[in-house]
Every structure is written in C-alpha cells, then in structure tokens.
C-alpha cells in the first residue's frame, strides 16, 4: 500500500523546490531557513524520542537467548549470542549494530507437497542491508569535505579508497553505485515478495524514494551537470559556522538534493528510521542473560494479593490432617 502516494510525495517535494527556487527565487529559504529548521527538528525530535524511551523503565530482564547459557563450568557458553557479562553484552550489541547479527540468521521458508517444509538460504536482505547502511555511512562521511575546512585527513583517505576504480572524470565512487543498487534492491524486494508487499506501509516506501532521489540528484550533480563545488562548500560552511551565505549561481538540482536531505532529517525522528537509536535500547538484546545470578530490580514492583499458605491450610485443614500431611494449626 502507498507506493504511488510515497513516490508522488517525493516528486512533489522536488517540484516544490523547483518552483520555489526557479520561479520564486527562494534561495535563502531553501538554502538556509529549511536546513536550520530541519536540523533543529532532527536534534530535538531525536533526543525527545530517545528520552521518551529511556524514561520507561525495564522492569524485567527479558533477554532473548540465542545460544548456550552460562551454566556448569564444563558446559561451553556461547558468550556472544547469550552473554552473561557486560563485556559479552557489548560484544553482542556490536555484532548486531556493525554486522546485523540477527538478520544474518535469516532463512526463507518453503512449502512442498507432503507437506515437507524447507528453510532455505536467504542472506540477500542481510547483504543488501549491510551494503546499504555502509555505503550510506561512507557517503555521509565523504560529505564532511563540504562542512569542514581544512578537510579532515580520513575524509581524503575515504575518498581515495572509494574512488579506487579510477573510472571516469570526476572519478566514480563505488559507494554511489552500491547505494543506488541497494536502495533499489530494498524497494524491489518490498514490491516483489508478496508477503513483504502486504506488510508495507507508505512510511516504508517513502524513505526509500527519498533516499533514491537523494542519491540520484547527487550523482547527476557530480557526474553530469557538474555543480560548482566551491560555492556549495561556501554555503555549507556558512551553515555550520552560523554565518549563512547564499552564493549565487548554484543550480536548482543542488537545492533539490539539499532539500531532500532536510526532509530526511526532519522526518527521521517521527519514523521507523529511529531504529538507529532504538536498537541500542532494545531490552531483548542489550542486557546480559544473568537474572538468576544477579537480581534485576523493577522500580515499580508493587505488592499483589496472594492466596497465603494460611488461607490454603484453612481451606483444606481437615483433609490434610486425615491424609497425614503436616499442618501449622490443628484447628482454625
């Protein structure tokens, strides 16, 4: 549901920039006002959401154990999939965040006549998920060259690595290709796999289109329409130094690219993209499996009415005595 709606929304956003910049000449608005507003929304929204999560306590230790527990000394524990120490838990989280450990387990279920059930190899989501996130990260870091003067050394190294192929001029970045390929894969998977399509919401397609066009506008600027990089850097530096300037002569394509980024930022805290923060707070992953070793405290633990032994004995005393069961009191 919502493919068209999401696609049209993104196109409408770009059209708005086109009209705004080309026709109405709102360079300052799209170059300065919107970015600050988006950044503020992102920061405030992100922090607000994380605080909202953090404010709710974790009353119970509900770790999902995905490997052998710590038990008798001669039983080999799976210290990363079922950690019982803080170090192990950090290791588990690192695997989740850096390598998508849980997604790596993914399989695909197949039904065959019989019935005979099969669970097939299915790592595509894991592979393209990783490719997508890492290329996104690299692209993000590469963009720092616009926002910092002098450009930090690691950004140069990254550019060097990324441009390894030495194809074309300006040099082709591998991550650009990967990024577009991965976003396309994620989109196609959503559309082609009937189950995934059935569960998808507009809010699942929207970020994909947003990212796709973010990437595409970027690529066009770099390889085809050749935006004036010096002026863009002037604008970017102006923003981060709180000294906004809007150099003239930057093409409308740049404003589109920049606006889509702003939309992404502003949209982020209200969307599923918050999985970035949420994964760190997920109680089934971020706690050691140690509740039998160390008591986990629930801050709102309140007493409940129980049926006490005394009440129980009162109910059954005669029968207990007759059956020779020990009692606390011979009669009420």
């Amino acid at each position: 549901m919502g493919i068209k709606f999401s696609l049209l929304s993104v196109i409408a956003l770009m059209a708005a920039v086109f009209v705004g910049v080309k026709v109405a000449g709102l360079h300052y608005f799209f170059g300065v006002v919107v970015p600050y507003a988006a950044l503020a929304t992102f920061l405030v929204g992100f922090i607000y959401r994380v605080l909202l999560w953090a404010r709710s306590p974790v009353p119970f230790n509900i770790t999902t154990t995905s490997g052998q527990q710590q038990s008798l000394p001669w039983v080999k524990q799976n210290k990363l999939d079922n950690p019982s120490t803080t170090a192990g838990t950090i290791g588990r989280m690192a695997l989740e965040v850096l390598f998508f450990r849980s997604l790596f387990r993914n399989t695909k279920y197949e039904y065959h006549e019989g019935p005979k059930l099969r669970y097939q190899w299915e790592k595509w989501l894991w592979i393209f998920g990783l490719l997508f996130h890492y290329s996104f990260l690299v692209i993000f870091l590469r963009h720092l060259r616009f926002f910092a003067e002098p450009v930090p050394g690691f950004v140069h190294s990254l550019e060097g690595l990324d441009g390894m192929l030495q194809v074309g001029l300006p040099g082709l970045y591998i991550t650009n290709l990967i990024f577009i390929a991965a976003v396309t894969f994620l989109f196609l998977r959503r559309v082609v796999v009937p189950q995934v399509r059935y569960i998808s919401l507009p809010s699942d397609y929207f970020p994909l289109f947003l990212l796709f066009f973010l990437g595409v506008t970027g690529i066009i600027m770099r390889y085809f329409s050749k935006v004036d990089v010096v002026k863009v850097k002037e604008l970017a530096l102006g923003i981060v130094t709180f000294n906004p300037v809007v150099p003239s002569g930057i093409g409308v394509l740049f404003y589109m690219h920049f606006f889509l980024l702003c939309v992404l930022l502003a949209y982020f805290p209200f969307s599923k993209l918050m999985h970035l923060g949420g994964v760190f707070l997920s109680p089934t992953r971020n706690m050691p499996n140690d509740p039998r070793m160390r008591r986990h405290v629930n801050p709102w633990n309140y007493p409940v009415k129980v049926h006490t032994y005394e009440e129980y004995e009162d109910d059954f005393r005669e029968k207990m005595i007759e059956a020779g069961l020990p009692v606390e009191k011979e009669s009420k």
Partner: protein, 539 residues
C-alpha cells in the same frame, strides 16, 4: 467441539488476500479460537468484567467505557515497559520475522506473521500516541480503535504461543511475544480472555496447582507412582510432603502428576532423588511449577509465582529444585527474583552429592533439575545403564522457553546422551534457539483449538518426521510438561509412530538403583530390548 480435519484435508495457502489487512476481519471458525474465560474464574483472580460471553456473539459485553480503559491501559504499559515503547516505534517491516512463526507457516494467515501481529497493536498506538498517526491516519499506518479491533486482538493474540522464535531473527530484537503479552494484558482489562488460561490460573491460586488437585489427592497420586516404581524394580520410595527442615523443596508442573507421559517423568524424579538420598520435600501448596498467570497478565503471574518463595521460606529449605517445564522456567529465569525476591532466606544451591555450587543461580536460588542431574552424571555419581533405553531411538525438542529465555541447550543433550545410546538431533534450523514451538504453548493447549494446534505444530512435527524417516526415531524427548501433554496428539496427527517422553523418564529407565530387582520393562511397562519374552511371561 470442532471436527479436526485430517492432515491431507488441510489447505496451505500463502498468498496474501486481495484486501489490505486493515480491511479484513478474522473469521471465528471452530478450531481456531479458544473458549472465553468463565466469570467464576475471573472472580477468583480478581480480574475485571467477569461475565459469561462468547466470541461468536455480536456483543462481547465490554465495559461501557472500554475505549478509555484501553487507552489508559496502553499508556500505563508504555510508561511501565520500555520494551513496549521501543517495539512500537522501531519496526522497519523488513519481514525477516514473517515466516519464522509456526502459526504463519501452519495457517498462511498474514496476520500470523509476527510483524503484522505487532501491527495490530502498533496501528492503535500510532493513532493514540503519535503525532504522525493522529494527523495522517491510515497513511501513517494508524487506525481507529473499535470493537472489531478488539475482536481481532483476541483472535490473534490467542494465536501466538509467546514462543519468541521471531525475536531471535529480528534485527532489533523486537519480541512479538512481549507484544502479545501486552495485548493480553490490555484484553484482560476488558475481561476478554480464554478459559483454558483462566481456569488453571484460578485453580492454581486456590488449590496450589493448575489442575485443582487438593492436598490429600496430590499426596495420593504421588504415592500411586511409588507403587508403580516398586512394580518395575522392587524399590520402595518414600517421598515426603510439606516437610519442614528438608534441604530442598522440589517443584514441578502438576501436569506431571496427572497424566501420561508426564507421570513417567515424575517417576524418574522420584527414583533419582531416592537413589542419591536427597533430603527433599514436595509441597502441596506450591504444587505447581507452571504459571498460567504469565498468559494472563503480570499481576496474575506474580500472584501465582509468589507461592514458590513463600513456601520455601515457610518450610525452611536451603534452595529449590524445579522440574522439567517450559514456561515455568521462563518465569523463574526472567521474572521470579524480580517480582517476588530477593530470596535472602535461601542459600546458594549446592549439590549435596557432588559439592558443586550453582553460581549461575546464586540470586534466585533455584536450579533446573536437568542442570542438577547433568552435574551428577558429570561427576560420576549415578550408575547408569543406557542400554535400558535401547528400544528407543531418541530425538530432542528444545522447548521454547528454556531455549530462548535461558539458553538451555547442552545440559539436556548431555543427560540424554548419557542415558541413551541412540540419539539424533533434528536439523539445525529447527533446534536450539531456532527451535519450533509445539504449537500449543501459552495456554492454547485446549481441545477446541485443535486445528490451529495441529497447524502450528506442523514445523515441529515435520522436523521430527525428518529424523523419523532418516534414523527411525521413535521417541521425542523434551523438558516441558505442556509438550508432554500436547506433542503426543501432534505426533499422532503428523508422525504417528513417534512417542513423547520427558528427559527424566529416560533417566529413570537408565538409573541403576541399589538393591533393585532386574528390570524387564521400562517405566511404561514396555519390554526392554532383549527382554521381550520375559515380560510376556510376567504378564
């Protein structure tokens, strides 16, 4: 009660319906839902809105302000459980969990994909608690709460066995079992629940166990097994009840006292404890290991669980040993100490036979009998004759809760391999943390739900069939009382030649007891390998 279709009559269709899920309604077909909770049971437990009602009626007799109750209830849960807050916000609908649920595999109903089960609640959360949902409605995946939604919740939150298999695969660890738990918590605020959960919980509250066995009867039943054991090997065991000053309190699910094949597992416990001379007692008050409160709401879970520590304190024991049960161990591992601890009147468990200190249970002071037995075997304290299980070709079902709430994998396998000569594991995608549910957990083990149970149990049964066909496996072992009750009909349905056993039944068969007469049969009275003729003569 619904007639259960034969295996070859079941249709499996995985194509999602034409209509979008917000526009489809569950069909309350016999065999796919459980009978509603009776008023008298709700009253015993002090649950809201006790009444007689039926899911087939148009009017579910909800309280007049039911919407407000749900809204307040949801707010309360969001404020009390970070799990709920985070899980409501971060699902990306990647679908990695979708085909991991045995109920989806068994039914093809897309709302049994964990992700959609979660969306059933999430959609209402978005409407009431998020800005985007309030403004954009459906476009943001939000929907209005109405009675149809409540009916849908009832249908699908009682088609989830809280097995947590989905949570192993989710990249963010979203645990749909936790969402179901919250869903049931909310439904219980309206008095919407099932009697197969409420009845046992009410029984447990008043009588000490789910089956409502009264103290004298509990003692009688265990003494009956004492005689059964004597018939097998001539050893007379004298268990004690409610005895103060014993070193250990032993608690196991009452299902083991009540019905085959759990009863044979119970005989195994009795024989083991007798043989090692353990100073232990049974309790008739804390005569239930399981906890159907877990399937009701957190308060009921706490109420029922409270008896374990209370009884341990009253009897003055040093620590507690728990029997083979699945969800019982979920509660002990992840809830008990937090809810009803600290148990500072107990001592860190120390095996009196081997001297092993169970540091992994140093706070709860309760250990699993399989840990205890594994330690005995490892230290050479048991004389075992595994050939007495040679007539069995065994595989092992990792029960969901010990698997995904503890990580209890190698201990049971160690014990089994020491008491059996023929053991084969099922394929790796179906065991250990990826184990498939029996299809009847979380209080859904009732007869009127049989079709869904057989459907949901298919992935488990299919894996058993694999080792049955390949290795001639004829015995499915497990460490869960619900398994022992529900796997036999599941096997009859899908893999008819396989029987079900607890691990301690296998121990009971193998353990060589001092002064015992020569055994010709196993605990079930089936002839041992090579003894077929002798047992005929006995008869």
């Amino acid at each position: 009660m619904a007639k259960v279709p034969k295996p070859n009559e079941l249709v499996f269709d995985y194509n999602p319906p034409q209509k979008w899920w917000m526009d489809t309604k569950p069909e309350f077909r016999p065999g796919t839902w459980c009978y509603p909770g009776k008023a008298k049971n709700a009253e015993v437990l002090g649950l809201p809105n006790p009444r007689e009602w039926s899911p087939l009626d148009e009017d579910w007799k909800l309280p007049s302000n039911w919407k407000e109750i749900i809204f307040e209830g949801m707010r309360d849960c969001l404020n009390k459980y970070r799990s709920l807050r985070v899980f409501m916000d971060i699902c990306v609908r990647c679908g990695a969990c979708s085909d991991k649920c045995h109920f989806y595999i068994g039914s093809g109903d897309p709302k049994n994909m964990p992700v959609l089960r979660g969306e059933l609640l999430r959609s209402v959360y978005r409407k009431d608690f998020t800005l985007a949902g309030k403004i954009m409605g459906r476009i943001a995946g939000a929907r209005e709460l109405n009675e149809e939604v409540v009916k849908e919740w009832f249908y699908y939150f009682f088609q989830c066995t809280e097995c947590r298999r989905c949570s192993v695969f989710c990249p963010y660890g979203i645990d749909t079992a936790e969402i179901t738990i919250m869903g049931r918590e909310l439904l219980n605020l309206l008095g919407v629940n099932i009697d197969w959960v409420l009845g046992p919980a009410a029984n447990c509250y008043l009588n000490g166990n789910h089956l409502g066995i009264q103290p004298h009867a509990f003692k009688d039943m265990i003494e009956f097994f004492v005689e059964e054991i004597e018939a097998v090997n001539g050893i007379r065991i004298e268990p004690t009840f409610n005895r103060k000053g014993a070193e250990v309190l032993f608690i196991t699910p009452s299902g083991d006292v009540f019905a085959d094949p759990g009863t044979y597992t119970l005989m195994g416990y009795l024989m083991l404890f007798h043989e090692i001379g353990l100073d232990y007692t049974w309790s008739t008050y804390a005569s239930e290991g399981g906890n159907f409160g877990l399937f009701t709401n957190h308060d009921t879970m706490k109420k029922l669980n409270a008896k374990m520590y209370a009884e341990a304190e009253r009897l003055g024991v040093k620590y507690i040993i728990g029997g083979e049960c699945g969800h019982m161990w979920r509660v002990i591992q992840q809830y008990m100490d937090t809810m009803n601890g600290p148990a500072d009147f107990l001592e860190v468990p120390r095996s009196p036979i081997t001297g092993t200190v169970f540091d992994n249970a140093k706070s709860t002071k309760m250990i699993h009998i399989v840990e205890f037995t594994a330690d005995l075997i490892r230290n050479g304290k048991l004389k075992l004759d595994p050939s007495r299980n040679d007539h069995l070709r065994v595989t092992y079902h990792d029960s969901c809760n010990p698997a995904r709430a503890m990580g209890f994998f190698d201990e049971p396998r160690y014990v089994i391999k020491n008491v059996c000569n023929n053991f084969w594991d099922m394929p790796p995608n179906c065991i250990r943390e990826q184990t498939f549910c029996c299809g009847s957990g979380s209080g859904l083990n009732t007869d009127e739900f049989m079709e869904m149970r057989m459907r949901g149990g298919l992935p488990r049964a299919n894996a058993v069939k694999h080792v049955h066909d390949k290795h001639g496996v004829n015995m499915l072992s497990c460490i869960c009382a619900i398994d022992r009750a529900v796997l036999p009909p599941l096997m009859d349905y899908w893999v008819p030649d396989v029987d079900v056993t607890g691990v301690h039944e296998l121990v009971g068969n193998a353990i060589v007891m001092e002064g015992e007469t020569e055994r010709t049969t196993d605990l079930r009275g089936n002839p041992l390998e090579g003894m077929e003729d002798m047992s005929d003569e006995d008869l």
